[in-house]
Subunit: 181 residues, 2 copies
């Protein structure tokens, strides 16, 4: 008794998310999303109340994307926090726009810690690892190493830092060792 829906909310979200990934959030417009979805702007406003709701959805997808990225990243390091660091820097290199949206946002939605902890119980797990490795102040260690990791990732995003995975690995392990002594 009615027409079949051909452009779903998911399809629109997929398209918008890919655009955010490639060009950043600020370049998402109704007409450009419609063009890439091969439709008019109408299906967008049927599925979403407005562009804000769409960009909110894109943001949530970005959070989930990072969390999957982190979950699947290989855990090769024995030094505490270094797996987290390797994944974070690699994400900044491979997904510059998403990194900016999530971790250097102009309109803050979730804090850095909310995104991180939501992915797995990363922070707690890593802090316990550090504690059992004989660190006397694992919380303080985490703060320091995390600031360092964030700096490396931000510089990677902007192109001010350009090290290979190997170099990054060595750097992170060195720095973490320095902090633990």
């Amino acid at each position: 008794m009615a027409r079949k829906e051909s452009i779903t909310k998911q399809m629109i979200l997929d398209v918008a998310f890919m655009m955010a990934r490639e060009e950043g959030m600020q370049n998402i417009t109704a007409r450009r999303v419609a063009e890439r979805a091969n439709c008019s702007t109408q299906p967008i406003f049927r599925s979403f109340q407005g562009m804000d709701e769409l960009t909110d959805g894109v943001y949530d997808r970005a959070v989930a994307f990072f969390q999957d990225y982190y979950r699947l990243y290989p855990r090769l390091e024995k030094t505490p926090f270094c797996n987290l660091g390797m994944a974070y820097v690699a994400f900044a290199r491979e997904e510059k726009e998403l990194f900016r949206i999530l971790f250097v946002p102009e309109k803050p939605r979730k804090s850095l810690y909310e995104i991180l902890n939501g992915s797995t119980e990363n922070v707690k797990t890593e802090i316990q690892r550090a504690a059992s490795a004989g660190c006397q102040d694992p919380g303080g260690l985490f703060m320091k190493i995390w600031i360092f990791i964030h700096g490396a990732a931000c510089m990677t995003m902007t192109g001010d830092y350009d090290l290979s995975d190997q170099e990054t690995r060595k750097l992170l392990n060195d720095v973490c060792q320095s902090f633990m002594n």
Copy 2:
């Protein structure tokens, strides 16, 4: 034989720079600049070829502003690089929008190092200080401490990091000591 100019290039630049400082570069529009300068948009386009030229000028002012800020920042620390770090983090706290424009730019103009080195001979001076303090790899030390400082400042800008000057001072000195051992 002609009318006196009442809105100078400097006045427009002043207004646009203040707007960038308060609201960020992306909120600078011809009409909003004109409104704050109490004039029409006409004087803007007489002094500048277009809005791009104006924003380029604003960027240059931001560079100069940071360099002045750094030059005037008190040098209380004895540990190498920590004066630079204190000034950088304070700048990120007090001038969030300018910090973003300069150090987390979407359209990169000058690299981080160009801005820094241009201000004074900061980097070279600090590296020499570290070398004469007995550091065997002052370049490597600088890279590490600088990544850390940048991370602290970026987190300060986004509000993910909120330490007092005193806490920052202690943190930077600790970290630098860790890196030197």
